[in-house]
């Protein structure tokens, strides 16, 4: 095995290699060759056929076959069609798309032009988060340079084919990563999802046939066109060909982006590429798929990473966030963290998501602050399933995953919270109790003087005591004690 520990760079092929602000660098790496091939040597049907045979699936989360999407929007009748790129990367802990847009913007532009050629569209729109100013700047520059060289705009490469791309800035709404919400946002409205069908391929942006793919999906397309679908299929698995970029973060030694062939076991990514867990701690779980995904426990670390295997474990591939958790992380706390996120980001259009997630969050808050009972765990499970089954869009359908997966794999941890009112990982601060160890206390009064609620009493040079009833668990005494005489449990 080579020194990159089994990584294969297709989507990230140029990132960090070329100067993203120089189109010449991109062209020198074979850039825009795929476009020329698609325009002059292939018919639209052949382009679609190649993408279909490659087995490329959407890298934004759900894994819908890309070629099929192209075929559907290609077949839709209409004088006006759109090619859209979903660059509204909103999952906390995920930054694959950002890196591609900042490091290799032309790979996305070129693929969108090829898609336009394939489905008969002349307009492309990239919907990008306003939180990514550098990516916006580089895309703008890339569009300008490509237009100057006749690779974008009117009469591309003298072929008579016109295709323009413009940027559209989001305004901070997670739900806009859902494709129909995104389209409503581009139309100037609130980013609320639509009922499907009709699918975007039939009636998308401004009710015109629209093909929408994620950034990383597009970043794969040019190589598939250039090298052929057989080449692409040599990587990955039968059902999930190619590679996937993951944003490895959390308690792992090497954080950052990795691109691996599908089917690689999770353990290899974490232990070998990620260099294991920080500070010699023990791996507890891996969270994939962000707020829509779930937590996969240590015993399933040998699972191959592909769409189906992760769904079977109650998580999803998602856009590629991979957060490594160690034994210091509380799984109830993590579930609460994600629920808080989705409850705030729910757009409010459908009831199960708007109210259901709010109720789920309230139950979790009850558990992490010591008011829980075993009945709450049954409620979480039942309500979680209702929200999943009845919500209108992907946000609500997947938002209970963090709760349901932790309930399934870390039931014991929930039980300790509800029965013993204790948090084994000491993350749920409301459940903590602070004590001063008499054998260690030197009576220096530092804790008493720093306590914001003055609940520590004791005379100089004598053992101090914390009044549990008044303690607000602020951790100040724990940090200030010069002899580490304070313990929490």
């Amino acid at each position: 095995m080579s020194d990159n520990y089994g990584q294969v760079r297709i989507a990230l092929r140029n990132c960090g290699v070329i100067d993203p602000e120089k189109i010449g660098d991109y062209i020198a790496q074979g850039g825009y060759d795929a476009l020329a091939k698609a325009i002059f040597e292939m018919t639209p049907a052949e382009i679609i056929d190649t993408v279909k045979k490659s087995g490329l699936r959407g890298r934004g989360g759900a894994g819908f076959p890309t070629g099929l999407k192209w075929e559907l929007s290609g077949k839709s009748e209409g004088d006006e069609k759109y090619v859209m790129c979903n660059a509204d990367e909103g999952d906390p802990g995920a930054f694959m798309d950002r890196s591609i847009l900042e490091g290799d913007p032309h790979s996305v532009l070129e693929a969108m032009v090829i898609c336009g050629r394939a489905i008969g569209a002349r307009q492309g729109i990239i919907y990008i988060r306003a939180e990514y100013p550098l990516a916006v700047k580089r895309l703008q520059k890339a569009i300008g340079e490509a237009e100057e060289l006749g690779l974008l705009g009117d009469d591309i490469l003298g072929s008579g084919f016109d295709f323009g791309i413009r940027l559209y800035l989001g305004a901070g709404a997670f739900v806009c990563g859902e494709e129909t919400s995104l389209m409503n946002s581009v139309q100037g409205g609130r980013g609320e999802p639509r009922i499907k069908p009709p699918f975007p391929a039939q009636a998308g942006l401004w009710k015109k046939p629209t093909n929408i793919n994620n950034v990383e999906t597009y970043a794969n397309v040019c190589r598939i066109i250039l090298n052929g679908w057989e080449w692409f299929r040599q990587f990955g698995t039968e059902k999930s060909p190619g590679t996937k970029v993951f944003a490895l973060a959390g308690k792992v030694n090497n954080v950052g982006l990795v691109e691996v062939p599908m089917g690689m076991p999770l353990r290899h990514i974490i232990e070998v590429i990620g260099g294991g867990i920080q500070n010699g701690r023990k791996l507890k779980a891996v969270q994939t798929g962000g707020p829509s995904g779930g937590c996969i426990p240590e015993e399933h670390m040998d699972t191959p990473v592909d769409y189906e295997s992760l769904v079977a474990l109650g998580s999803i591939m998602g856009s590629g966030g991979m957060i490594v958790l160690d034994e210091d992380d509380c799984m109830v706390n993590i579930a609460q963290f994600y629920l808080k996120f989705t409850a705030e980001e729910s757009c409010g259009k459908c009831t199960p998501c708007r109210i259901g997630n709010r109720r789920l969050l309230e139950i979790l808050e009850k558990i992490t602050t010591g008011g829980g009972a075993e009945k709450d765990m049954i409620d979480l499970d039942e309500l979680g399933n209702i929200v999943r089954d009845c919500s209108l869009c992907g946000l609500g359908q997947s938002s209970p995953n963090p709760v349901l997966s932790t309930l399934k794999y870390f039931r014991d941890e929930y039980l300790v919270h509800v029965n013993d009112k204790r948090c084994p990982s000491k993350r749920c601060t409301a459940l903590l109790r602070y004590f001063i160890m008499p054998e260690k206390c030197i009576g220096c009064t530092v804790c008493a003087r720093n306590c914001p609620v003055s609940c520590i009493s004791g005379e100089r040079k004598k053992t101090h005591v914390i009044d549990q009833a008044r303690c607000i668990k602020c951790n100040t005494c724990y940090e200030k004690c010069p002899v580490n005489a304070i313990t929490k449990e």
Partner: protein, 164 residues
């Protein structure tokens, strides 16, 4: 002057110029709101009404959109916007403690602003710098691998510039 008359009299030449330069006003609402916030710092009632008239859409729609997206603000913000990242990567690496430290040091809660209007404190969801977790942003500047004891220095650094 009665409120309605005041609203009618308010003029926003920068926004007018921007709208006049647009190829199509259909679907232009969000870019126009971005532009207005960039120009004035926040979206006042007056500017929202003005935009509604210019784009020929109901004011309720403008308000609906302005309140839907978290980047738009309807109130004036302070000078140094402190945003502590509570994205997952930062969260598991202890960003909650950083936020609490800011709350203690500034004497305010998250989503509040200090009385001198210098420091609005808030949390943010993932700036895509997870490799630097935990991350704090002050306006456009990113501080990486922040520890609770760094908080004081970050505040003081800006206090020094605050008087300028």
């Amino acid at each position: 002057m009665p409120q309605q008359a005041a609203e009618a009299a308010a003029s926003f030449p920068e926004i007018d110029a921007y709208i006049d330069g647009l190829p199509d006003i259909n679907g232009a609402l969000i870019p126009v709101l971005h532009r207005a916030q960039e120009e004035y710092g926040y979206l006042s009632r007056e500017v929202q009404l003005h935009i509604a008239r210019r784009l020929q859409i109901p004011a309720s729609k403008v308000f609906g959109v302005a309140t839907f997206y978290s980047l738009f603000t309807l109130e004036k913000k302070g000078k140094f916007r402190i945003n502590v990242c509570l994205g997952t990567a930062c969260f598991v690496r202890g960003s909650e403690a950083i936020l609490r430290q800011f709350e203690t040091d500034l004497g305010i809660k998250a989503r509040e602003t200090t009385e001198d209007f210098l420091f609005p404190l808030d949390s943010i969801r993932c700036v895509g710098a997870c490799g630097l977790a935990p991350v704090v942003m002050v306006n456009d500047r990113v501080y990486g691998r922040v520890k609770p004891e760094d908080v004081k220095g970050i505040v003081e650094e800006h206090l020094k510039r605050g008087g300028e």
